[in-house]
Amino acid sequence: MSRHALFKFCLYVADDAPNSVQAIANLAAFCKAHLPDRYEIEIVDVYREPKRALTEGIFMTPTLVVLTPPPVRRIVGTLSHTQTVLLALGLTDITE
C-alpha cells in the first residue's frame, strides 16, 4: 500500500558522536537502496536543539522518527540492522 508513498524522516543525532555519524551514513545508504527518490530526511542535532528533543521525547540518540506514512514510528540505534528497519517501515515485501 505504501509502495509509492513519500517517506519523511527526522533523524535525531548527538553532534558527531560515533553512533550518530554512523546512523546518518546508514540512513542515507538505506534510502538510496530501498526508497530511491521518495524520501526526505531532516537531521536534528540535539545539542543544538535540546528543547526540540525534550518536547519530542528523544532521549536516546540516534533516533529515527518516521513521520510519514503514518503511524509515526521510532527506530533507535545506528540503523545497522537493515532487516529491522525494513520491517519497521513495512517494506519487507519489496525485498522478498
Binding site: 546512523a23 545539542y47 525534550l54 521525547g57 536516546m60 540518540t61 521510532r74 533507535v76 540503523l79
Partner: protein
Amino acid sequence: MLSTGNKIKPVQSPLVKTPSKAPTGIAGFDEITGGGLPHGRTTLLVGGPGSGKTILALQFLVHGAQACKEPGIFVAFEESSRRIVANATSFGWKLAELQKKKLFFLDAQPKPDLIQSGDFDLGGMLAALEAQTREMGARRIVFDALDVVLALLPDPATKRREIYRLHEWLLAHNLTGIITAKAGGDEASAIIEQPFGFMQFMVDCAVILNHSVAQGVSHRNLRVQKYRGSSFDENESPFLIGNSGLEVAVARTPGRVDAKVSNERVSSGVERLDTMLGGGYYRGASVLITGFSGTAKTTLSGAFAEAACGRGESTMFVSFDSDCTEVIRNLASVGIRLDRYVKNGCLRMISARTIAGSAETYLVRIKTLAQEHGARCLVIDPVSAWYKSGNDLTAQSVADRLIDWSKGDGITLVCTSLLDEMSNRVESGSPLQISALADTWIHLNYLVQAGERNRGLSIVKSRGTAHSNQVRELILSDAGVTLTDTYTAGGEVLMGTLRWEKERAERVAHEAAEAAAKLKRLRLDAEEAELEVRLKSLQTELVAKQVEKALLVRSTQSHEGELSRGRTQMKELRGADATKPGRKVGPS
C-alpha cells in the same frame, strides 16, 4: 615571652575536612550520613522492588526545592511522572506547585513500541537535560530506575560506557545526583553480579535499601555502603515509609552529647509510691512496670499520666492493648480522670492497635507523634507488645533505642511490660530485657493467699534514689490508687482479708484493753471515794469525842469550884474560924 601564644590556630587535618553535603530532609538519614548526600557528586541507591528507592529520591528533590533553594530534575525511566506526582500527594508534598519552577519531571520511559536497530547512546537525553538544567538552574537530579534504559543496551561494554557518560556529565555540571537501580530480590549484594554492578565502585556514595520479612512482619532498613570523604553510620538502619515520606531510625550517633541529667523529681501519681521512691521518679528517667496481666500496670501508668497532665506537661499515652476510649473509661473507674486532659489537649492518647508493622514502625511512629505533641512524659502500655511483632533481636534493639531516645530528649518514660504468667514466673523474665536499661523497675505481683488474689507492689530497683524494700499492697478503689502496708507475720506477707482481719483483731484487742483500763480506773475512783467518806466520818467522830472530852473537863472543874465555894459559905454561916493555914481542914 610567649607573645605568639595566642595566635596558634587549630590545625585541621585535611582528612577531617568533609565535602559539603546536600541535606535530604529525611528524618534520620541526614544524621547517618552526617548531613546528607555528597554535594555535587553522585549517589547510587540500590534496592529491591518496593524498597522505597523512588520515594527517597523524590524526597531528596522535594526537600532541595522547598528548603534548600536547589531546584531539581526527576528523570523517570520506569513510572510516568503523572503517576509519581499522584503517588507523592499522599505524603503531603505539593508537587504541582513545585513543578512550575523548581521541580521538573522528565518522562523518559522507553516506549513499548520502540524499534531498535543497532547501537545507541544517551546523548540525546543528556543534551535535553543540559538545556533544562541551565534554564531552571537545577542543582539536584535523580535518575530513577536507570536499569530500565540500560537493559536496552546490547552488551555490558555499552552499558558501562553509558554509565560513565552519565557520571561524567553529572560531575561536569556539578549536580548532586541520585541514580537508583534495582537489585535482585532481597539480596542487595546481588547487584554486583549485574552488568552495572561496577556503579557501586564508581559513585561517591552508595546506599542499599532492604525490604525483608521476618516472621511475617515486614522490615525495611537501609545501609550506607560507602561514602567517600565522610564518616557515616555503617550499620543497617531501619526505616519506614510514613505519612510524610521516609523516616529513618537512628541509633545514638557517637557525636551526640550525653543527655542532661536532672535531679528533678516527678510524681508517680500515687502519693505513697512517691514516698517509697524517696520523692518520685527522676525527670527523664525510664520506668519499667512489670507484672502479669491484671496486676494494675495500666492503672499505675495512668496515674502517672494524670499526675503529669495535672502539672500541665504534655503527655502521650500509647496503648497497645485497648482503644483510647476504653482506657479512659477503665481508668475513670479507679478515679483517674483522663478525659478532661484529652479535651484540653494536654494528653494525647494513641491506640497502637491501629499501627500495623514491626517494632521499628512503632518506635518511629511513636517518636514522630511524641515530637509533634511535644511530649514531656510518655507512657507505653505495654512495651512487650513489640515482642510479638517480629523477631526478638529487633524488638530488643528497638526497646534500647526507645530508652536512649527518651533520655536524649529528656522525656520521662513509663513503660509497662507484660510477663507471661503461664510460662514465666521469674521476676527477671521481662521478655525485652529492658529491665537492665530502665532506671526504675517496679514489679507488680499477685499474692494468692487464703483463697484471695491480692496485688503486691515492690520496687526492684531505682537508680540513684533511696527506695523502700518493702512489698506494699496496691489497692484500687473508685477513689483512686493507694498503697498500704502489708503485715508480716511469721515470715509471710499478709494481704487482703488476712491483713484486714489482722488489723481488726488488733483494733478489737486495743478497744478491750482500753475498756479494761477504764473500768479499773472507775473502781479505783470508787474506792478512793469510799475511803474519803470514811475519813470524813471518822473526822467527825473525832471532833465529837474531842468536844465530849472538853465538856467533861469543864464540868469537872465547875463541880469542884462549886464544892469549894459551898464549903466557904458553910463556914461563914457556921461562923467558924478561918481556916488556919497549915491546919488540916477536915472533921475533927
